[in-house]
Amino acid sequence: MRAVLASLVLLLALAQASYAQTAPPDPRVPLWLAQLQDPAWQNRMQTFYAVLNSTGPVSGSGEYWVGPATTKIVSVSPNLGAAFIALLGLENTFGLNLLNDLPEDFSDYWADVVIAVAALNDPTALDVLSAVAHTGSIATNAIASFGSLGLDRAKRLVRNKDPQVRISGMLTTLAIAKAATSRKELRLRAEAIAILLFGLFDRDPEVRITALYALGELRSKEARASILALLSRDLHTGADSEHAEAFAREREEAKRVLRRIDD
């Protein structure tokens, strides 16, 4: 925890130092940088939305507004990028460590900070994005967008002790494999499939189901033998297990994926 806080302070200091070198055009930036570190999340939230709203209307493409607004404001005031990454670190510390009663407004705002940081497309954000990979596709897709760098993160995620995090690692890997379509990315795709095959033998059934699902999405013929092995194993051990329901779903998913691969 102390190490996380120390790195956050360092990030914020870097954001301010960076600001000092290149004065941004918007005179409110110094105040915003300070307010984004406010001890009260409500004040940080207010500042976050004030910063985004300062860009005025963003494109009416139907895309959720936070990403485009972030891109717009950071193109004018680049220092805010580092400040947003540090902000996500702060919100992760608050959101992940509060055991109960996460306020409604906080949860909604936290998701928007993740979207803002994802929009930065900045590899220095990989740490803070990985910390929230289990919250959904905003984070997993953002990590996946870094290709091989993202796959390194996915490898760490699939070794996490929390099954939900391992599931997000599998889905990050799936997104990387799906995007790796060119000839020069064949190795990346093969590496991603290897991670998914590794997931078939996870101790948690939900992780295995996710690995199956991912291999089905990729129609990975390499997975056929492993899935058959999985089916065989579950037939012998699943019936008496207290996780019988999960095993049943797993077998169903395995059969569905086999059909999909053989199609």
């Binding site: 009416g60 493409s61 959720y64 409604e104 949860s107 919250t135 905003i138 939900e206």
Partner: protein
């Protein structure tokens, strides 16, 4: 002149009871803190807000000046002299008559209300003092008009929904307010010849008008249009109306979310309903992109299973065990969906 002033005074105060219903004065009358609104000449307004820079405006239109500055301080300055009535109405602003001294000639003013692509109603005032009178009296050689040609063009943007309104009538001294009895936006106009009211009627022609107005008067970022609402998928409508907003991305995501038959605990909520259940001020339930699936057994294992399935269904944001739902349900949303609404 006195007769005209008295009439103006009465005419402008005639709107006061309605204002009192929808707006709260946010400054004592007269202002007690240093927010100075003063005018000189035809209309030179200097505004010193409690914080932030001083701003000034010049306008040949010296009777009613409506300004919102800065965005948090919507206020209206009325006439020349000291503005004496300030209202903040949830993002709308209005003006109540004041004991302003009317020294300018009456103008014929045309006010045009139109929609903008940015989702606002734009009110443009364009006027010319083309009456052969000054201060209510005909111009004569003995008493020439002091300023008989004044052209101005002023644009006010009100945060209303594009395409929802039809204007029936407006003229000068315009203010826009919400009539709580029927949910209509009303343009109130105080005019030398009496007060005129223009009603901006919502075009949907059904309860969507009221529903859309909830969005206008709340903190929700989106301002939906008539065609965005649907009566399909009533199983996802947890609001107070038969209409709901449902994004296609959410319904597709929900279809692939293997919930194992767990019931839907909440999906679409209209703003008033969302407030009543303690939802976030910009909750994605009001956007039609969020679903809470009930955790019938209230077990951690079932919560985990539902979250895992939501991840596989590509949900953008899934709340954990410490989220507002706690063990009761799993909240997932597809807020980044750029697709359309369920028709």
């Amino acid at each position: 002149m006195h007769r005209q002033l008295a009439f103006l005074f009465l005419a402008t105060f005639a709107a006061a009871p309605t204002w009192a219903q929808v707006c709260k004065p946010f400054l004592p009358d007269p202002p007690a803190f240093p927010l100075a609104v003063r005018s000189s000449g035809s209309a030179h307004i200097v505004i010193t807000p409690p914080s932030g820079p001083q701003v000034s405006f010049s306008s040949p239109f010296s009777r009613d000046i409506l300004y919102g500055y800065p965005p948090d301080y919507f206020f209206a300055a009325v006439g020349e002299g000291w503005g004496s009535s300030f209202f903040k109405c949830n993002g709308l602003f209005g003006v109540r008559g004041a004991t302003a001294i009317l020294t300018s000639p009456p103008f014929l003013v045309t006010t045009v209300v139109s929609s903008t692509s940015a989702g606002a109603v734009q009110i443009t005032e364009d006027g010319t003092n083309n009456l052969p009178i000054n201060d209510g009296f005909p111009c004569t050689a003995a008493a020439p008009c002091s300023s008989d040609v004044v052209r101005f063009r002023k644009v006010h943007n009100y945060d209303l929904v594009t395409g929802l309104y039809t204007l029936t009538h407006v003229t000068d001294r315009t203010s826009v307010w919400l009539d709580p009895s029927n949910g209509n936006r009303v343009v109130t106009v105080a005019h030398d010849e009496g007060e005129r009211t223009a009603t901006l009627k919502l075009k949907c022609g059904d309860e969507r008008d009221k529903l859309a107005d909830e969005y206008l008067s709340s903190a929700v970022t989106i301002k939906p249009k008539c065609q965005d609402f649907t009566q399909a998928r009533q199983d996802l409508n947890f609001g107070d109306y038969s209409w709901a907003l449902l994004k296609l991305g959410m319904t597709a995501g929900l279809a692939s979310w293997s919930t194992g038959g767990s019931p839907i605990a909440s999906a679409y909520r209209n703003p008033v309903h969302n407030r009543s259940v303690g939802g976030a001020s910009d909750s994605k339930h009001m956007w039609g992109v969020a679903v809470d699936v009930g955790n019938v057994t209230q077990s951690v294992a079932e919560h985990r299973r539902l979250r895992a399935a939501a991840l596989r269904a590509g949900a953008n944001w899934i709340e954990g065990l410490n989220g507002p739902c706690k063990l009761r349900c799993v909240h997932a949303d597809w807020r980044k969906d750029a697709g359309g609404y369920v028709p």
